[in-house]
């Protein structure tokens, strides 16, 4: 009964609707792009080099005569897959480490905090660059590097939420009833922080997408011939005066994805309050 009352207080808002719609479209494009694109995204054609946007090629073609729409669809798919994996990995580590350190405290907590303090002030793209230069290139390494770079912020968020709950009455009672620590952490406390944590997960998508496209733009992320939005932009930059449409589609795709996630995050935050 009480559950129902809190549900009723939560209100739909414009941010949430816009964010859900935009993110939904992004995910739909990613899924469609995995199975079908209007043209083969790697098929080159000398006669179609730099064709401006038309009905046959909505966003035109690039310097190898490849269809830009198809490549953007593939790029969205790559970006979404990478960011889902990065967010999943870093959030999982964040929950585990944050829960344990926040609930138990002590020396390990102190060390972890000093460490995350040092890392947190550091721009995440730089950290990922350094990790990647140690590990070497490739998509798997990129995912690993970004996950490591994003972990500390999740650890901090989860830890501070667990500290809030560790001395709460209902947790003390659960402990009195003989509930084990693992159950207290993940069954009694975790559901309570879920709504707060959801916002940081959604914002994490934003950061992951910006970092991935930034690194691919710099040529250190996704390697050709695989399509990636960042790499497309860095290629397009060389042909800006002759084929300005080349830069437009991948750039707008990034803006669309990031805007969708940030509206969604803001929407969930307002829904919670």
């Amino acid at each position: 009964m009480k559950q129902k009352n809190t549900r009723e207080k939560k209100k739909w808002n414009n941010y949430l609707v816009a964010g859900l719609v935009m993110t939904g479209i992004t995910l739909a494009i990613a899924v469609i792009g995995a199975f079908w694109t209007p043209y083969d995204a790697t098929a080159m054609s000398a006669s179609l080099k730099f064709a401006p946007p038309s009905f046959a090629h909505w966003f035109g073609t690039d310097n190898f005569g490849r269809d830009i729409l198809s490549r953007v669809m593939e790029g969205v798919e790559t970006t979404v897959v990478i960011s889902v994996l990065v967010v999943a990995a870093s959030a999982l580590v964040g929950v585990l480490v944050g829960a344990l350190t926040g609930y138990f405290g002590g020396l390990i907590d102190e060390i972890t905090m000093r460490f995350t303090d040092a890392v947190n002030g550091f721009p995440s793209i730089l950290l990922a660059l350094v990790i990647l230069s140690v590990l070497g290139g490739g998509v798997e390494k990129l995912i690993l590097a970004l996950s490591i770079a994003f972990c500390p912020s999740y650890i901090r968020i989860v830890r501070s939420e667990f500290i809030k709950y560790r001395d709460a009455d209902f947790i003390a009672r659960a402990r009195l009833m003989g509930v084990g620590w693992a159950r207290i952490l993940f069954v009694h406390i975790l559901p309570n922080i879920f709504s707060t944590f959801l916002v940081s997960i959604v914002i994490g998508f934003n950061n992951a997408i910006l970092a991935e496209s930034g690194m691919s733009f710099l040529g250190i992320g996704v390697q050709p011939p695989a399509a990636s939005l960042g790499k497309m932009l860095s290629d397009a930059q060389g042909y800006l005066s002759s084929a300005p449409w080349y830069a437009l589609a991948p750039g707008l795709a990034i803006v669309w994805i990031v805007l969708g996630f940030s509206l969604l995050g803001e929407g969930i935050r307002r829904w919670n309050n």
């Binding site: 721009p123 730089l126 932009l233 830069a247 990034i254």
Partner: protein, 319 residues
């Protein structure tokens, strides 16, 4: 004073930790540095000679000690890739020397733009009674925050460089030759870095002001007869700016990171480009120094902000 001493000691300790991390991270890399420099055809004698020259035969701890004491004395080591002449390696210090001012000026320029534009904008936004203005600023700022710096750089190049012809894309002017021309060219990358940050900072200031406007002291100020103007600028803004100072510290770190990417877009010969090219050619002595350098800047900025914060907020310093 005691606080500042404590802060400086933690600062030094953190810098040492960072230096150890920056150095040791590159010792665990798979693959032999010597083979990657000389190629696979080199004779064992040549490899041994180079190994001795680069000091790779010493144990890691000793090499770290040598490296740190060198850095403290101003000797930043030599590059693996660049040569000064036929048989002399390029010192990292010389490699970084003339690139550093480019990045620092760019970051400084962007920061000035951010502060000068975002603060009036945030105040205007917080004071706007007009619902449409509020909604419009909301949409614009959300969109501006979603544009990555490199795409913004491309848009700025296209709009100001190719259509309006305000500057020549790729026509970088060295600060040694023509400082005014340098600053003119730098304006456009600085705009690209600044726009998303302006949106963030203005938004942050606006929210901070709206929170302050609901406080009791604002009601008191009104009831004792302060004008609207006085309440806004002498009371609300002063308090609302406090969290913005901390926020700006974060923005400075982000601005330096942003310049790494934006230098690439505008063809600026700054440390960001050097970092990227050194990472791709695995020129680790250069990467180590650059990482150490950027981290130090970030850490020192944070510490300064922290001290500044205590100095301008009488509530904290009186405790």
């Amino acid at each position: 004073m005691k606080y500042i001493c404590k802060k400086i000691i933690t600062l030094i300790m953190t810098l040492f930790l960072v230096s150890a991390a920056a150095f040791l991270a590159f010792q665990v890399i798979p693959g032999d540095v010597v083979t990657s420099i000389l190629g696979t055809e080199a004779t064992p004698e040549m490899e041994e000679l180079l190994r001795e020259e680069l000091g790779l035969n010493d144990p890691p701890v000793e090499r770290y000690m040598n490296w740190v004491s060198g850095v403290l004395k101003g000797d930043l080591g030599v590059s693996y890739r660049y040569s000064k002449s036929m048989n002399e390696r390029m010192p990292v210090a010389e490699l970084i020397g003339d690139k550093l001012p480019v990045t620092l000026w760019l970051a400084f320029y962007s920061l000035i733009l951010i502060i000068v534009i975002s603060i009036p904008l945030g105040v205007l936004w917080a004071r706007s009674k007009n619902h449409y203005l509020d909604a419009a600023l909301n949409v614009i700022s959300q969109t501006a925050m979603a544009v990555p710096a490199f795409f913004l750089g491309i848009l700025v190049t296209y709009l100001f460089g190719i259509i309006l012809k305000c500057f020549t894309p790729g026509g970088y002017v060295s600060y040694r030759e023509d400082f005014a021309g340098f600053m003119h060219y730098l304006l456009f990358p600085a705009i690209s870095i600044a726009i998303p940050k302006i949106a963030m900072t203005a938004r942050f200031l606006r929210n901070s002001m709206l929170t302050e406007m609901r406080s009791d002291y604002v009601r008191t100020a009104y009831s004792k007869g302060c004008t609207n103007r006085r309440v806004m600028y002498a009371h609300v803004l002063r308090n609302a700016l406090m969290p913005v100072v901390t926020f700006l510290g974060m923005i400075i770190a982000e601005t330096i990171a942003g310049s790494i990417v934006v230098e690439q877009v505008f063809g600026l010969p700054g440390v960001g480009r050097l970092l990227i090219s050194s990472i791709s050619t695995r020129d680790f002595p250069v990467v180590e120094i650059l990482v150490l350098y950027i981290t130090s800047v970030v850490i020192i900025v944070y510490a300064l902000i922290d001290i500044l914060y205590r100095m301008i907020d009488p509530r904290i310093s009186s405790k």
